[in-house]
C-alpha cells in the first residue's frame, strides 16, 4: 500500500498555448490506458483526455488520462507522474487515483461557460455538458477532473454513470456481492471455496485471532476470559426467530430461562432482549438494553431484568441504569457536528479561515461530543470499578450510542481490548453483532441522509484521545485507527456493510439463489471481515499498525491464541519514571518539605497533588484518587477531561490539506525513532532466545529477523537516519487529494516543497525554472 516515489522527470508535448496557464494534452494518442479491475468488476463507462487537477491555482501539475467508472470505483488512469508525492498509501484494492463508489459523498458537475453547477443524483438528467467534475469524498478528499479536451458527450455519460452507480437501488448491487461470489465461489467450483480470512500460515494471523462472535464458542470463551460465571450463552435467536436485528447468540443472566426471555422479548423495542457486554473482575457486569415499548409492562419487566442481573453479581449489588438518549447528543447532532467539522477542515478557504479556526472548531461541537462521550463512559467506569455495581446502558433501540459507550467503557477497563486482536473483537462484539446499522449510518446506498451519522468515527476519535494520553497502553497506532476508518468506505468487507447479521445472511442467501451459486456450505455466502488486512495491505505495510511503545506487553496479552484471564497486574514500567518527573507537575515526595539551602533551585510544584478536601462528587473523588497515582497501563485507564486535553485528530481530519503538511516533522518523526528502538529490542530478545535455546554460539544460523516494526534498525547502533519522505501526513499524501476550485493562493509545490507562506515572487520565479 505504501511506496516511496522518486520524483521522475516526465516528457510531455505541449500545444501552442491557447488559453494561458492551461496545460494541453499530449498530441499523440495516448497508448492504451487500461483500468485495473478486480474479479467481478466491470467498466461501465469511460472518457479520454481528462485532466485531473492537482493544484488549485495552476494546471501545470495536472495529469492527463482516462476517467473510468466501474461498478466498484471511479478510476483515473494516467501515465503521468505526480510530483511532490513523498509517500503514497497503497491498497491492493485501489489504485493511486481511485475512489470507491461507496466513498462518494457528493458529485458536482460544472459548466464554466454557462456558469452552471449541479449536484448529481441518480437517474437525473443533466442539461449541460460538464466541463468539470468534482467528487467530494466521505474520507474528506476533494478530487477534481476537467473535461476541456474530452468529448462532451462521453464526459456527460461518465458523470451520469458515476451518479447512477454510486447510488445503487439495492444492497445486492453493492460491488462486494459480485466480488465475493467471484473470488470465493467461482460459480459452482467448490475447489475455490476457501473460508475467507483463512490464511493457511502456521502463525495465526491477526484475523484468525479475532473472534467474530457469530458462534456460541466465541461467547463462551469471552465469558470464561472475564470470569462471568453467572452468565450463559443463549441461542433462542438462532435463525433470527426472536429478533431480526440481534445476533444469533448472545449472553444472558443464568437465572433467566429461555422461556422467560422469549416472553420478555416481545415487550422490547426490536425484540431486543438485554445483552451482556462484559464482566469486571469484581463481578459487576455491563449490560445493554433497548427500551420497553409497552408502558404497562415497563416497571415489571425492568424489575425482572434488574433482579436477574443482581442475582448474577457475586455481591448481589444493585444495578445502575444509564439512559444514553438523555445524557448524550443525538445521532443527528453528531452528524451536524461532523458536517461542520468537515466544512472547517477541508472546505473553508485555508488562509481566510485561519483567524477563526479555533472558534469554528468549537462551533462544530465535535470535540465537545468527543469529550462528552469520554466523560460519560468514565462515569460508568466509576460505577463498575469504584462502586462495584452492574451497569445497564439503555437506549431506545440499543443500536447506536450503546455501541459507542459500551466499547469505550471496555477499552478503559480491560487491557485486552487495547491489543489489536482484542480491539477488533470488541468492534465485532459491540458493533457488528450488536446490530449497529453500518449500512444506514454510512449511507452506503445514499437512500436517506437523515439516517447518516458518523458514530463509528466518533468512537475512533475517542479511542484516539486515549491513545494520545496513554501512548504506550495500546498495541495499535493512529494509522491503524485511520485506516480502519477509511475501510468503512470499501464495500467488500462484511464488517461495515450491513445493518445486522440477519441482513447479511438474508441478502447472501438471496444473492446466491438468484445467481445459482452453489457453495456447499450451510452459510450461503461469506464476506471477508475487514480484519483480514492482507486483503488490503502487504505484510510489511501492516507493520504500520504496530505501536512501538507497546513492546514488552504484547507477549502477555495473547498466549497460544487464547487470551489469559484478565487480571490487574501490579507490574508497571511507567512507575519509576513518572516519579522522577514529579518535580514538574506536583506529586511531591513525602520527606522533601523544607529543602536544604543548597537546593534552593526552584522546583515548582503544582498547587496540590492530593484529593480535594471537599470533592464535588464521589466519582470526582474516585478520578482524583486515580490520577494522583501513576497509571497502570495494563489496568484501568481514565481519560483526562479538561477541554484543553481534547485535541483535534489531525492525521484523520487534516491529512489531505497540503498547507498543513509538515515536512520532516509531525508525530511520525517520533514514531520513527521509537520504532527503530523497539526493533533493536526485538532483535536483542531474539538473539537472547537463540543463545538460550541452542546453548551455543555457532549452532543455527540466526533466523531472519521478523520485525513488528515498519521502520527497522539497520544494526545495533544508534544511528538510523530519518527518511526524507516523512511528513506529518504520513502515510498519506495530500497531493491531488484536496483540490478545491480556483482559490488563489500559493502554489501547491511550495507547500509540499518546504516553506509555507508568503514566498516572494522572486523566489517563486527562481524555483519555477
Amino acid at each position: 500500500m505504501f511506496s516511496v516515489k522518486p520524483p521522475k522527470p516526465t516528457f510531455r508535448c505541449y500545444l501552442p498555448p491557447q488559453q494561458t496557464g492551461i496545460k494541453k494534452p499530449p498530441l499523440t494518442t495516448p497508448k492504451k490506458l487500461e483500468a485495473k479491475l478486480l474479479p467481478g468488476e466491470i467498466v461501465v463507462n469511460e472518457v479520454n483526455f481528462v485532466r485531473k487537477c492537482i493544484a488549485s491555482d495552476t494546471s501545470q501539475q495536472d495529469l492527463w488520462g482516462k476517467l473510468v467508472c466501474t461498478n466498484f470505483k471511479i478510476s483515473f488512469i494516467t501515465d503521468d507522474v505526480m510530483h511532490h508525492v513523498k509517500f503514497q498509501y497503497k491498497s491492493f484494492l485501489l489504485g493511486e487515483h481511485d475512489i470507491p463508489l461507496t466513498c462518494i459523498e457528493q458529485i458536482v458537475t460544472v459548466n464554466d461557460a454557462k456558469r452552471k453547477q449541479k449536484v448529481l443524483i441518480s437517474n437525473q438528467k443533466l442539461k449541460f455538458n460538464p466541463t468539470e467534475l468534482i467528487i467530494y469524498c466521505k474520507d474528506f478528499r476533494i478530487v477534481r477532473f476537467r473535461f476541456d479536451e474530452a468529448g462532451p458527450e462521453s464526459a456527460k455519460k461518465v458523470c451520469l454513470a458515476i451518479a447512477h452507480y454510486s447510488q445503487p437501488a439495492d444492497l445486492q448491487l453493492l460491488f462486494g456481492f459480485e466480488y465475493v461470489a467471484r473470488v470465493y465461489y467461482n460459480s459452482g467450483n467448490k475447489v475455490n471455496c476457501v473460508d475467507p480470512g483463512g490464511g493457511g500460515l502456521e502463525k495465526k494471523s491477526l484475523c484468525e485471532q479475532t473472534p467474530l462472535f457469530d458462534k456460541p464458542s466465541d461467547w463462551d470463551r469471552e465469558i470464561k476470559r472475564t470470569g462471568a460465571s453467572e452468565w450463559r450463552v443463549c441461542s433462542i435467536n438462532e435463525g433470527y426467530k426472536i429478533s431480526p436485528n440481534l445476533s444469533e447468540y448472545f449472553v444472558v443472566p443464568v437465572s433467566l430461562a429461555d422461556q422467560d426471555l422469549r416472553q420478555f422479548s416481545q415487550f422490547f423495542t426490536g425484540f431486543r432482549i438485554p445483552l451482556w457486554c462484559w464482566n469486571h473482575s469484581n463481578g459487576s457486569a455491563l449490560v445493554r438494553m433497548a427500551s420497553i415499548k409497552d408502558v404497562m409492562q415497563q416497571r415489571k419487566l425492568d424489575q425482572r431484568v434488574c433482579a436477574a442481573i443482581t442475582r448474577s453479581h457475586p455481591n448481589r449489588s444493585d444495578v445502575y441504569k444509564s439512559d444514553l438518549d438523555k445524557s448524550l447528543p443525538s445521532i443527528q447532532d453528531i452528524q451536524t457536528a461532523f458536517t461542520k467539522l468537515r466544512q472547517a477542515s477541508v472546505i473553508d478557504p485555508f488562509e481566510e479561515s485561519e483567524e477563526r479556526w479555533l472558534s469554528s472548531i468549537e462551533n462544530s461541537r465535535w470535540l465537545e461530543y468527543v469529550r462528552c462521550c469520554l466523560k460519560h463512559a468514565a462515569e460508568l467506569v466509576y460505577m463498575l470499578e469504584g462502586k462495584r455495581v452492574s451497569v445497564i446502558l439503555q437506549e431506545e433501540e440499543d443500536r447506536d450510542l450503546s455501541c459507542l459507550i459500551s466499547s469505550l467503557i471496555q477499552v478503559m477497563l480491560d487491557p485486552h481490548f487495547r491489543s489489536i486482536a482484542g480491539f477488533q473483537s470488541l468492534l465485532q462484539k459491540e458493533w457488528v453483532m450488536a446490530g449497529y446499522r453500518f449500512l444506514d449510518r454510512c449511507n452506503h446506498l445514499k437512500k436517506s441522509d437523515k439516517e447518516e451519522s458518523p458514530l463509528f468515527l466518533l468512537f475512533l476519535d475517542c479511542v484516539w484521545q486515549l491513545l494520545v494520553q496513554y501512548p504506550a497502553a495500546f498495541e495499535f497506532t493512529e494509522t491503524f485507527l485511520t485506516v480502519l476508518g477509511d475501510s468503512l468506505w470499501l464495500s467488500i468487507f462484511s464488517t461495515f456493510l450491513f445493518n445486522c447479521p440477519q441482513q447479511q445472511d438474508e441478502h447472501c442467501r438471496e444473492f446466491v439463489k438468484s445467481r445459482s451459486i452453489s457453495c456447499g456450505d450451510e452459510k450461503p455466502l461469506r464476506f471477508p471481515p475487514v480484519w483480514d488486512w492482507s486483503q488490503q495491505f502487504s505484510e510489511k505495510d501492516q507493520a504500520l499498525f504496530n505501536n512501538p511503545l507497546y513492546v514488552g506487553k504484547s507477549a502477555s496479552c495473547v498466549q497460544n491464541g487464547a487470551v489469559k484471564s484478565f487480571k490487574r497486574t501490579k507490574k508497571n514500567y511507567s512507575c519509576t519514571l513518572r516519579g522522577t518527573s514529579s518535580l514538574k507537575n506536583g506529586l511531591l515526595s513525602e520527606p522533601e518539605f523544607m529543602p536544604r539551602r543548597n537546593s534552593l533551585v526552584l522546583r515548582l510544584k503544582a498547587d496540590f497533588s492530593h484529593v480535594r478536601d471537599a470533592p464535588d462528587s464521589p466519582s470526582e473523588q474516585f478520578f482524583c484518587e486515580w490520577f494522583s497515582k501513576p497509571a497502570d497501563l495494563q489496568g484501568l485507564l481514565l481519560p483526562q477531561l479538561l477541554p484543553s486535553h481534547i485535541k483535534l485528530w489531525k492525521l484523520y481530519f487534516l491529512r489531505w490539506v497540503p498547507e498543513v503538511q509538515i515536512n520532516m516533522g509531525g508525530p511520525v518523526t517520533a514514531f520513527h525513532k521509537m520504532s527503530v528502538l523497539a526493533d533493536e529490542i526485538e532483535m536483542l530478545q531474539q538473539r537472547l532466545r537463540q543463545y538460550k535455546g541452542v546453548g551455543s554460539l555457532s549452532a543455527g544460523t540466526p533466523e531472519a529477523h521478523q520485525s513488528r516494526m515498519f521502520f527497522r534498525a539497520s544494526n545495533l547502533s544508534d544511528s538510523s537516519p530519518m527518511p526524507e519522505y516523512l511528513t506529518s501526513s504520513f502515510p498519506f499524501s495530500p497531493v491531488g487529494n484536496l483540490c478545491k476550485r480556483s482559490i488563489l493562493g500559493t502554489p501547491l509545490s511550495k507547500f509540499l516543497g518546504g516553506t509555507k507562506i508568503w514566498i516572494s515572487t522572486e523566489t517563486l520565479a527562481s524555483e519555477a525554472m
Partner: protein
C-alpha cells in the same frame, strides 16, 4: 534569614482552605500544611510576585487576606488573623522582600553563592561562535570598536561588520540608527541610533554566505532624512554575499506603526534611498499589545478553564495569533536566507525585542547547532543578553511598579515559539519541555543573575551552570541530530497549540504532557538491560563451547541440554 508565621490559610482555587505555616526568606515564600500526613507545600520564589494586594471577600471576622499576583500565570491567596497588637501583616513584610529594588535592597541573586562544577560564563565565547561560522572571512571583519560600549551601550564588545567599512564609518552609521544599534550580521547587528544605523551580523549561511543582520530602525524622521553612510553600509552587507543582488530588510512592525514612528524621529528605509533593497513589514505588534494579550490569557487559563467556550476564549486572547505572526516572520527570514540565498537585515524600533525574537527563531530554523542544549544557551547569550534585551525593564525584577508600561512578555513569547517548534519537530531539539520551563521559571526567580539586567554585564551565568550540571533532566530522548536540516514549521492555527504544560500547569488536573519521552526512556533502559544480558550469554557460551569441545573429545556421547528460559 527566615521568618516563620503560623496559622496562615492558603485559599487554594482547586482544593479550598488549607491551614499551614508560612516561612518567608529573602529568596522565597514557603508554605506547608499543618497536618503531618499531608505533603502539601507551596514554594514560591519572591521574584515571581508581580504585586501583592489586600483582598476582600467573605472571611471570618478578624481575618485579613492578601492576593499575590504572580508572573508565572497564577495567583496565590492567603488569609490570616489580624494581629491584635496592631503589628504589620506578614504580607507587608513579604512586600518589602519581594520588591527589594523598590526598597533599595539587593536582588537575591547577588547574595546567592552556590558553586556549580561548570562555569556558566564559559557557555558563550563570541570568538568561538564566530569561528564556528567561519568568521571573520574576506567579507566580514571583527571590530572591537565597541570595547568600552562607546559605539553602542546595548551591543556586545565584539562586532562583525562588512570588511570594507572602516570603524570611522561605523560611528557615523551608528548615529543614524536608533540607540546607535548599527546593523550587525548574523549576529551582526548594526546599531542605528538617533539618526544613525549600524547593523551587526548574527548568522552566516555556511554555503551561500547569506547573512542575518540585525539593527534598530533608521532615524529617518518626518523629513525623510537620509544617511549616505548607512546606505553604503547596507550596500556593503549585500555585496558581502555574492549569490544575490538583493537585500531584504524585514521591519518587524506593522507598517502603520513604522510610519507613526517617523514623527518620533524614527521610521523605515525608503526603497529609493536603499537601492536593491526590498522592505517587508512583518506586522508584529508592540510590547503593549502583547502584555494585554497575556493578561487576557491568564484570565482564561487560571484558575479554571471554562468548559464550554475554551477554544473561542483562547482565540479571543489573540495569544496564538501573535505567536503565529512571530513564527511566520522568522520563517520568512529563514526562507529568504536558505532558499533565496539573500542576506537579510532585521529591525523593529529599538532592535532588542521583536528583532531578538525574529533573529533567534530564524537561526533556530536554519542552524541545527542552536537546537542543542548548549547551542540554545549560546543563542540566548548572543541574541538576547549581549544584544541588550532589556530583561530588567521587561520583567521588572524586584520592582513593585507592576503597571509599568515597559513590562512585556517578549522573552516568554520567544520561548513559547520555541516550544511550538519542538511540537512540530519532536526529534529536532536536544532539549525537552522541562528545559524551556526551567529557563522561564528562572527568568523570574532572581535566583540566578542571568536575566537580571538590561544588557550583558557582569551578572552571573549560574543558570547555565545549573542546567549543564543536571543535563539528564533536560534532554529530549528522541533527539536526532540532523543539524544540516532546515526546519520549515507550518505556521498555521491548525498546528499552533496553547502550551498547556506551562500556562495550565498549576491546574492539578493537568498531567504530564510528554508521556512519550518517559515510555521511550523505559525502552532505552530495557535495551541496555538486554544488551548486557546478550553480552553475558555470549561470553558464557564462548567459554562453555571452549570447555565442552575439550570435554567432547573425552566423552563424545554427552550432549549439552539447552536450558529453556523464558525471557
Amino acid at each position: 534569614f527566615s521568618l516563620i508565621f503560623k496559622d496562615v490559610t492558603y485559599i487554594c482555587p482547586f482544593m479550598g482552605m488549607i491551614r499551614g505555616t508560612l516561612t518567608v526568606t529573602n529568596y522565597r515564600l514557603f508554605f506547608k500544611r499543618v497536618e503531618k500526613d499531608s505533603a502539601f507545600v507551596l514554594d514560591v520564589p519572591l521574584g515571581v510576585i508581580s504585586r501583592i494586594e489586600k483582598a476582600g471577600g467573605a472571611l471570618s471576622r478578624g481575618e485579613v487576606s492578601y492576593v499575590l499576583v504572580c508572573k508565572d500565570i497564577r495567583n496565590l491567596k492567603f488569609a490570616h488573623k489580624q494581629d491584635t497588637q496592631g503589628r504589620t501583616s506578614v504580607f507587608e513584610t513579604v512586600m518589602k522582600l519581594a520588591f527589594p529594588v523598590s526598597h533599595n535592597l539587593q536582588v537575591f541573586a547577588y547574595e546567592y553563592g552556590q558553586i556549580y562544577p561548570e562555569n556558566g560564563w564559559k557557555v558563550y565565547d563570541p570568538s568561538a561562535e564566530y569561528k564556528r561560522m567561519g568568521l571573520p572571512n574576506e567579507s566580514w571583519r571583527m571590530t572591537r570598536i565597541n570595547e568600552h560600549y562607546e559605539l553602542c551601550d546595548t551591543y556586545p564588545v565584539m562586532l562583525l561588520v562588512p570588511a570594507n567599512i572602516p570603524d570611522e564609518d561605523l560611528k557615523r552609521v551608528a548615529t543614524f540608527r536608533a540607540k546607535n544599534r548599527i546593523p550587525v550580521s548574523l549576529n551582526m547587528d548594526i546599531t542605528r541610533e538617533c539618526g544613525q544605523s549600524r547593523s551587526v551580523l548574527s548568522w552566516i549561511h555556511p554555503e551561500s554566505q547569506a547573512t542575518v543582520v540585525r539593527c534598530s530602525q533608521p532615524m529617518v524622521g518626518a523629513n525623510g532624512k537620509r544617511s549616505k553612510d548607512d546606505e553604503k553600509y547596507l550596500q556593503a552587507i549585500m555585496d558581502a554575499n555574492a549569490q544575490s543582488h538583493k537585500l531584504f530588510i524585514f521591519d518587524a512592525r506593522p507598517s502603520v506603526n513604522a510610519v507613526a514612528n517617523k514623527t518620533k524621529g524614527g521610521g523605515f528605509e525608503s526603497e529609493d534611498a536603499y537601492q536593491n533593497a526590498e522592505l517587508v513589514f512583518l506586522d508584529i505588534h508592540n510590547i503593549h499589545v502583547m502584555r494585554e494579550s497575556l493578561r487576557k490569557l491568564k484570565e482564561v487559563v487560571y484558575p479554571n478553564i471554562e468548559e464550554s467556550h475554551w477554544l473561542s476564549n483562547l482565540e479571543s486572547t489573540h495569544w496564538l495569533e501573535h505567536i503565529k505572526l512571530i513564527l511566520a516572520g522568522a520563517l520568512r527570514i529563514a526562507d529568504k536566507v536558505e532558499s533565496g540565498k539573500t542576506s537579510v537585515v532585521i529591525h523593529c524600533s529599538d532592535g532588542w525585542d521583536r528583532t531578538a525574537q525574529l533573529t533567534s527563531l530564524a537561526m533556530l530554523m536554519l542552524d541545527g547547532h542552536y537546537r542543542t542544549v548548549r547551542g540554545f544557551q549560546v543563542l540566548i547569550e548572543k541574541e538576547w543578553l549581549t544584544f541588550g534585551h532589556r530583561f530588567q525593564m521587561r520583567i521588572g525584577h524586584g520592582d513593585k511598579n507592576h503597571s509599568d508600561a515597559d513590562r512585556s512578555p517578549v522573552f516568554l513569547q520567544f520561548i513559547d515559539c520555541v516550544w511550538q517548534l519542538t511540537r512540530q519537530f519532536p526529534a529536532a531539539f536536544e532539549f525537552n519541555e522541562f528545559f524551556l520551563i526551567t529557563i522561564l521559571d528562572h527568568l523570574y526567580s532572581c535566583l540566578f543573575g542571568t536575566f537580571l539586567c538590561n544588557r550583558a554585564a557582569k551578572e552571573d551565568r549560574f543558570l547555565w551552570s545549573y542546567i549543564n550540571s543536571h543535563l539528564e533532566e533536560f534532554l529530549n530522548p528522541l533527539y536526532v541530530n540532523y543539524s544540516h536540516h532546515v526546519l520549515y514549521p507550518v505556521v498555521s492555527m491548525r498546528h499552533l497549540e496553547l502550551w498547556v504544560g506551562y500556562y495550565i500547569r498549576w491546574n492539578p488536573r493537568m498531567r504530564l504532557q510528554e508521556p512519550i519521552h518517559h515510555c521511550y526512556k523505559e525502552l532505552l533502559l530495557k535495551r541496555a538491560e538486554l544488551k548486557k544480558k546478550v553480552e553475558e550469554l555470549q561470553r558464557e557460551l564462548i567459554s562453555r563451547s571452549a570447555s565442552s569441545s575439550s570435554e567432547r573429545a573425552a566423552s563424545p556421547t554427552r550432549s549439552v541440554t539447552p536450558v529453556q528460559t523464558f525471557v
